[in-house]
């Protein structure tokens, strides 16, 4: 029998309305680097959170070193030797390296911190990793890669046997990635195991022993890396047929409405150019962190842009703040309803009229109650928002109806381009179909629709044209006739190769 560090048998986990993990079984061998792969929402982070004790599993068996463990929590996970390094590093930026490494496990004698001892220990671990970091440096002053090394050192100081790394290379330069891979190999040589989550499939070849693929919460397969290919991996990641029906309407493609030219705004919006025509829905696909949301925010003027032109109906617009783009008729239905879309404490009517007060106020700025009511009633009727009356707090509505309120406030004015960012996230199937129908209606009216989504079936089902983004760039523009899930995923993982052609000699 092989030596397993972790063995999971039929582990399941549900959240209200979603089965995030369904009967997943897998194992992790001693001294192995396992890549955990899957699309957004495949269940990778749920699985990892169960292993690290953040979530408790609903059912199934979890064995660590052959011993069954029940009632996992983060503390127990640490005792069992499982450490996780999150993509967003979890450290106290104001404390020193040593203080962070020993956070929560400070060495104390007679109620006094033993700083010297901790400092020495921190130095020993950092030396062992062969990284040049001063234990007394303040963590907030270190580069991201060094902070990551500190996290690894912290994991080692708890004598972790399993280290889970979530997208560890996303913020690193190629030199830093080299360093990280060198350390991963070293840890592996010491007999520790690593679970490695990454969208950057090309990197896998340098460090991975085995891949395991999840899809829609189900275990799909696992195979030795040397026996497979990237193409095969992608096929397994996608692998599903589109079962849902999407209401598609055919519409005449009219004249060019919006043209984005060489838009740059930070690291995640690089040289973006595309066109949008009347009567079409353009989908923007990509993985998490591809820069889709950032692109829409830059177009809308919510975030500053460094350069680029936004041309609407032939006029070059100067958009510096949302008010500018709203005036020109470009509006955004943001990704996070609660955070960016709605004033949840205000009534439905208040929310719908908020961006349209200019049209229902007299010249003294007094809001006409009558016009406001008419506007709200029209929006509620047009969008079939279900509510008791328009004076209820918008926060009390269901997710789908909240989304309609956000859309409603933009349709109450004559918008020319409507940008939807993940409009169907967290709403039920029936409400989703209503949102699709709504987008189709806009398209038929000659309004340009830009549609960001992480769900490939939905993007494929609704869009007339699909823009694929990866790491802040557009990697491909696909017509819907040629677009497939495999093709989109292939371009969505087309990272710029930071590593050079040949695997470097890392040992």
């Amino acid at each position: 029998m092989e030596n397993y560090i972790i063995e999971a048998i039929n582990v399941s986990k549900s959240f209200p309305g979603v089965r995030a993990l369904n009967q997943v079984s897998f194992n992790l061998k001693v001294g192995e680097v396992l890549a955990l792969l899957g699309e957004n929402g495949a269940g990778k982070s749920t699985l990892v959170k169960i292993l690290s004790g953040v979530y408790t599993k609903d059912e199934g068996i979890l064995k660590i070193f052959g011993e069954e463990v029940e009632g996992m929590n983060p503390l127990k996970a640490r005792e069992k030797g499982i450490a996780i390094i999150h993509q967003e590093l979890n450290m106290c930026a104001h404390l020193t390296v040593t203080e962070n490494i020993f956070l929560g496990r400070e060495i104390i004698q007679n109620g006094m911190l033993k700083d010297k001892e901790m400092g020495k220990e921190a130095k020993r671990i950092l030396d062992e990793l062969n990284v040049d970091i001063d234990p007394d440096a303040v963590v907030g002053n270190l580069s991201v890669s060094k902070q990551q090394m500190v996290e690894i050192a912290k994991a080692l100081s708890t004598n972790a046997q399993v280290i889970i790394m979530d997208e560890p290379t996303s913020a690193l330069t190629s030199k830093e990635i080299d360093d990280l891979f060198r350390i991963i190999k070293k840890l592996k040589a010491e007999g520790r195991s690593i679970i490695y989550i990454s969208h950057k499939l090309e990197e896998l070849q340098y460090i991975i022993d085995r891949v395991m693929i999840l899809r829609d919460g189900e275990y799909i397969t696992s195979m030795d890396f040397k026996d497979t290919s990237l193409k095969e991996i992608i096929a397994y990641m996608v692998g599903r047929e589109i079962k849902e029906k999407f209401p598609r309407v055919e519409s005449h493609k009219g004249k060019k409405l919006l043209e984005i030219k060489n838009l740059n705004a930070g690291a995640l919006v690089r040289d973006i150019s595309f066109d949008l025509y009347q009567g079409e829905i353009v989908g923007i696909a990509g993985l998490m962190g591809a820069g889709r949301t950032e692109t829409t925010r830059a177009i809308f003027g919510a975030d500053p842009k460094q350069s680029g032109e936004i041309i609407l109906e032939g006029n070059n617009l100067s958009i510096n703040k949302p008010m500018d783009s709203i005036k020109h008729g470009i509006v955004l239905v943001p990704e996070d309803r609660k955070r960016d879309g709605l004033c949840t404490k205000l009534s439905v009517s208040d929310n719908i009229s908020l961006p349209n007060l200019d049209s229902i106020c007299d010249r003294f700025g007094v809001v006409s109650r009558k016009k406001e009511q008419e506007m709200t009633e029209k929006a509620v009727k047009d969008l079939q928002i279900r509510l008791a009356n328009a004076d209820v707090d918008s926060g009390s509505l269901s997710g789908g109806n909240q989304q309609k309120v956000v859309v409603g406030k933009w349709l109450a004015r004559n918008s020319k381009v409507v940008i939807f960012d993940e409009p169907t996230r967290g709403i039920d199937v029936a409400a989703k179909v209503e949102i699709y129908n709504l987008m189709n209606e806009l398209k038929e009216k000659g309004i340009g629709v830009l549609f960001v989504s992480s769900e490939l079936p939905e993007i494929l089902g609704i869009s007339d044209r699909i823009i694929v983004m990866c790491d802040g760039r557009i990697t491909k523009e696909l017509d819907r006739k040629e677009a497939t899930q495999d093709l989109i995923l292939e371009y969505a993982t087309k990272f710029e190769n930071k590593m050079g052609k040949e695997p470097a000699d890392l040992q």
């Binding site: 879309g341 404490k345 809001v367 004076d391």
Partner: protein
């Protein structure tokens, strides 16, 4: 039948106004307090005491209006008390120098609005935490109050200012002290702006969700600054009332008033988290504050006891607000799952 339905609709609409629930609750509390104090000491209801009580409450209503505006945008204004002192000193100094009261009043308002604009810009443009920004302007405004007359209170503003003193404090119109009319007038104007105009709507929106407001095209900086300007304007008015009351400029005028303004707002149901509350509540909150001060004094309670009681009332009313809200959230969650 239809008329009845319409009437019911009106009542429903009235109750649905944001924060009306808490206003009704505290109104009952106010009535109960008045009854208790009336029983403890029947002279509490004497016309002389009622007139004095109302004149005592008026300044608290005025600064409560300003503080409510700022709280509803999700911020706080600690500079109110110092702006009162500054306005008191500036107006008195100008009048002792022989300036006409009207000009002095206008210049005083301009100076105060300067503080309001500074507050608004520091908070919304420089993104300083409102607590720190207004703590700074609070100290600066107090310093200005001291520098105006070389660290002395001013002399008497003299006979020429008799009209000024009557307008702001001593005079009566329709047998009611002018100060009370001023408070009511300001309340009507600012309540109208807050509930009926675009500016008012933006004030609520910014306090409720600053991101969503920004993405809806609301000018966050302008809205925040307007709220601070309202607060400074109200504080300056109270400063003028103080000048009229004592007939001179006092450097310490208004010390601690910013907290009375917070108390009046919060007791009246204005949320310190922003986005919620109505100015009707501020009137009731200020009244509770005044009735407690006056009533406890009548009942013979020392200042220390008055402070303790009012402190407890403030904490309890905020606690009630928090409890009600977490209860709401819980039932909401339950009904969803």
């Amino acid at each position: 039948m239809e008329a009845k339905m319409k009437k019911q609709g009106k009542i429903k609409r009235f109750l649905a106004i944001r924060g009306m629930g808490q206003v009704i609750t505290v109104t009952f509390g106010l009535i109960a307090l008045c009854i208790v104090f009336g029983i403890l000491n029947p002279t509490f209801f004497s016309s002389k005491n009622v007139a004095n009580l109302l004149r005592q409450i008026a300044p608290i209503i005025i600064i409560g209006i300003g503080q409510s505006y700022v709280l509803i945008t999700g911020n706080i204004d600690l500079s109110i008390g110092s702006v009162i002192g500054m306005s008191c000193m500036i107006s008195a100094k100008l009048m002792t120098m022989g300036m006409s009261p009207v000009t002095a009043v206008i210049l005083t308002y301009l100076a105060a609005l300067g503080v309001g604009i500074a507050n608004g810009q520091l908070v919304s443009k420089a993104k300083l935490p409102p607590f720190i920004a207004t703590l700074g302007t609070m100290t600066i405004a107090r310093g200005i109050a001291q520098i105006v007359n070389n660290n002395y209170n001013t002399d008497s503003i003299g006979e020429a200012a008799e009209g000024f003193r009557n307008f702001f404090y001593y005079g009566r119109t329709l047998n009611v002290f002018n100060t009370i009319w001023i408070a009511l007038a300001l309340w009507f104007v600012f309540n109208f702006i807050l509930s009926k105009t675009r500016t008012g709507r933006h004030v609520y929106a910014v306090g409720s969700n600053i991101n969503a407001s920004h993405l809806s095209g609301v000018n966050i900086s302008a809205t925040t600054t307007k709220a601070y300007m309202v607060s400074a304007f109200c504080a300056a008015t109270v400063g003028l009332v103080q000048t009229a009351t004592s007939g001179m400029g006092t450097m310490d005028a208004g010390t601690g008033y910013e907290m009375y303004a917070v108390a009046a707002s919060v007791i009246g149901g204005v949320s310190t988290l922003g986005g919620q509350g109505i100015l009707l509540g501020t009137i009731v909150g200020a009244s509770i504050w005044g009735v407690l001060q006056n009533g406890l004094q009548f009942a013979g309670a020392p200042v220390a006891i008055r402070n303790i009681v009012i402190g407890i009332i403030v904490v309890v009313s905020v606690l009630m607000d928090v409890l009600v809200r977490s209860n709401k959230a819980r039932t909401l969650r339950k009904s969803k799952s």
